[in-house]
């Protein structure tokens, strides 16, 4: 089952890159996101699957809103044979070394590490939370969550500073000369 979803994701990615219409490219990106969330569901991670679906919907809304008003045709494609061939050769080398290196790995989820064994056995009595993911991200690893929240807070602050209209100075001629940006 996992292989079918992986092939679906790869096909969706190729369509998203190769298609000429921007809107169909965006829709293909959305299909890839839903495939990724299905894969998380089959790997038994429902928390991540829910988050992936919802963030995918919100980003898809924003992308569709921007592409419907923008110029819908992609730019003319230029083929660079030397760059493509070099990229393909190095990708082949990478995959060959991957096959050589990953054949020594243990199977998926085996064996459990010491720390995850401790979390699974003592998580309920330590924190009282039935959802072990919530127990890990908000009790054992609460510093990490605080850092993530601060990252989002800072990025929102930066976006508001860039997008704001009040208090923004109008560009004059001397600013353009100073920065050196042509109009």
């Amino acid at each position: 089952m996992l292989e079918i979803i992986l092939i679906f994701i790869i096909v969706g990615t190729v369509i998203a890159i190769e298609t000429r219409n921007m809107l169909s490219s965006v829709i293909a990106v959305g299909a890839v996101g839903f495939g990724v969330s299905l894969m998380f569901l089959f790997l038994q991670a429902p928390d991540i699957a829910i988050t992936q679906v919802i963030v995918e919907i919100l980003s898809l809304i924003i992308l569709i809103r921007t592409t419907t008003y923008a110029d819908n045709e992609a730019i003319e494609k230029r083929l660079d044979t030397f760059a493509n061939m070099t990229g393909l050769i190095f990708l082949g080398l990478f995959l060959a070394f991957c096959y050589w290196a990953f054949s020594d790995l243990t199977s998926f989820g085996q064996p459990l590490m010491n720390v995850s064994q401790y979390y699974l056995s003592a998580g309920l009595t330590d924190t009282g939370a039935a959802n072990i993911v919530a127990a890990v991200i908000l009790d054992y690893r609460a510093y990490d969550t605080l850092g993530e929240a601060i990252v989002i807070f800072t990025s929102i602050l930066g976006a508001f500073v860039l997008l704001r209209t009040k208090g923004k100075k109008k560009t004059e001629e001397k600013d353009i000369e100073k920065v050196g940006i042509p109009e």
Partner: protein, 159 residues
């Protein structure tokens, strides 16, 4: 005053999408908000949590903004108040962490653990989920409304 203005804006046929979309959106927005709060409040018992529930809240407000118009979104929850709620959520997380400093260490789980599998259990984890949910919901809504209105407000003022 505010309610009358919202009613007037909802019934204006020139704003927003068609009547079918408006009627469906009026029902589904409440359900989506309810589901978002469910995901946040039961985050320590079922899959989900603060981040996922917060994004669902943001999606409910985004649906309101797309189905009706961006003017009604500005009356309901303006960009100023969205950023205020964002700050409140972030501040609540850090304040809970500093209260834990008085009992042991930073972000110490100082409340009683309660009975497992009941709604009020797990100490500070539901409170942290709630603060993260409010923060993420307000922040993503603020980003969407900022991308949507800020360039156009200048153009409307110049006209």
């Amino acid at each position: 005053m505010k309610k009358e203005k919202i009613k007037e804006l909802i019934e204006d046929p020139n704003l927003g999408m068609t009547l079918i979309v408006k009627t469906v959106a009026r029902i589904t927005i409440a359900l989506i908000l309810l589901y978002g709060f469910y995901i946040i409040i039961y985050g320590h018992l079922t899959p989900g949590g603060g981040f996922a529930g917060g994004v669902i809240l943001a999606i409910a407000y985004t649906l309101m903004m797309l189905a009706f118009s961006r003017r009604i979104a500005l009356v309901k929850l303006s960009d100023f108040w969205a950023s205020i709620w964002d700050n409140i959520g972030m501040l609540a997380f850090i304040v809970i962490g500093f209260v834990g400093l008085g009992f042991g260490y930073f972000l110490f789980n100082f409340l009683s653990k309660g009975k497992p599998f009941s709604l009020i259990s797990a100490g500070i984890i539901p409170l942290l989920n709630l603060s993260i949910g409010i923060k993420i919901g307000a922040a993503l809504y603020a980003i969407f409304i900022g991308l949507s209105i800020y360039g156009r407000l200048v153009l409307e003022e110049e006209e």
